[in-house]
Amino acid sequence: MMKKAIIFDCDNTLWTGIVGEDQHVYGLDTITTDIPFLANHGVIIGICSKNNENDANEALMAFDVDRYISVKRINWKDKASNLREIAQELNIGLDAMVFVDDSDFERELVTSQLPEVMAIHPKDLTRTVLENFNLTGSILKTEQYRANYQRAKAQEQFIDISEYLRSLDMVLTVKVNDKSQIPRIAELTQKTNQFNLTTQRLAETDIKNLMIESKIYSLSVRDRFGDNGLTGVCIIVDWDAPLYGIIAVFLLSCRILGRGIEQAFMDAIMRDLKKSKYTHLYAEYIPTPKNKQVEQFYPSLGFERCAGDQDEYVYCVDILKYEYQAAKHFSYE
């Protein structure tokens, strides 16, 4: 079966670094050379990536490849659903698609859900093209597909990925006020833009001081592909009355999103807080241009919106009534 389309991930597949997180990203051969070349020789090019849509689109424009791209799914949904939509939109079979992603996690997810799709690492791109495509000398075919490009959203596909997540053997380690982690915690508050509810930038001295009277939770995640290290931070401080706490910081590095880890982290924190002096936990979402994806985070966990102006998003939950969210595919340490 000859392949027709190549669907690319973005961060660390088309460029080094993460748009929206890093100040600069640097184009790899895939975007500077391969995409224009392949599109000119009859290969349909698509994008399937977990990014803020605006950030990724800006980068694609900056690298001047937008005109070669026939289809895009830039969102936070799982990539298997997105690839199904892409196949429908292009009206080609899943077995006519190659998916290129540097992440072992994403490739394995796609292979487990959609075995017809050939999922490869970027380093194997040239060899894959050589053996699985009929390159042409004409740009006509891409133009045809572009003309048919339907922006209407394909029907939402539901795919059960919980089984896959269970197979990952994810282990979460949550620590409280671990002084050895101060530099990494400060770094995450400085760098994280997307999954960051309040975007408070804190220095190492701030973290050190907060550890004296407040609770700083850190989250480390490992799975059977390896150790992702310290990738989540939550800071809880006293608010108003001493029995009320507020989440001053809640953030996760974007490379571990989409696996239910954010809910599992909150569960672990709540389990600990049930033993603390607090009765109620408040939380705030402060919108920025980069963090729209977490807009519904607290409501989705059962936090209720309380007092606040129209453009203030303050939520509250009764700690004893909090319902644990996460699926059972995690173990904790």
Binding site: D29, T33, N40, T126, L130, E131, F133
Partner: protein, 78 residues
Amino acid sequence: MNERIKEVMAKAFGVPVEQITEKSNQDTIDNWDSLRHMQLIVFLEREFDIIIPDEIVGNLISFKLIEATIQKCHGESA
């Protein structure tokens, strides 16, 4: 190996070897027509002692694809 590929390409397309880079492809080399393409295939087979399968002959239209072909052919015969 890269230098040998560049020399073969330069000879096949009749251009100075300095003009060939690892990013060269059919779009960057004006002389790359179908006649010279077949010449390239013959030169590559001779220079690297390989037989390029018919089904991929049409795909050898960039430096990188040529390099991958030689690696593939050497890998499979070894």
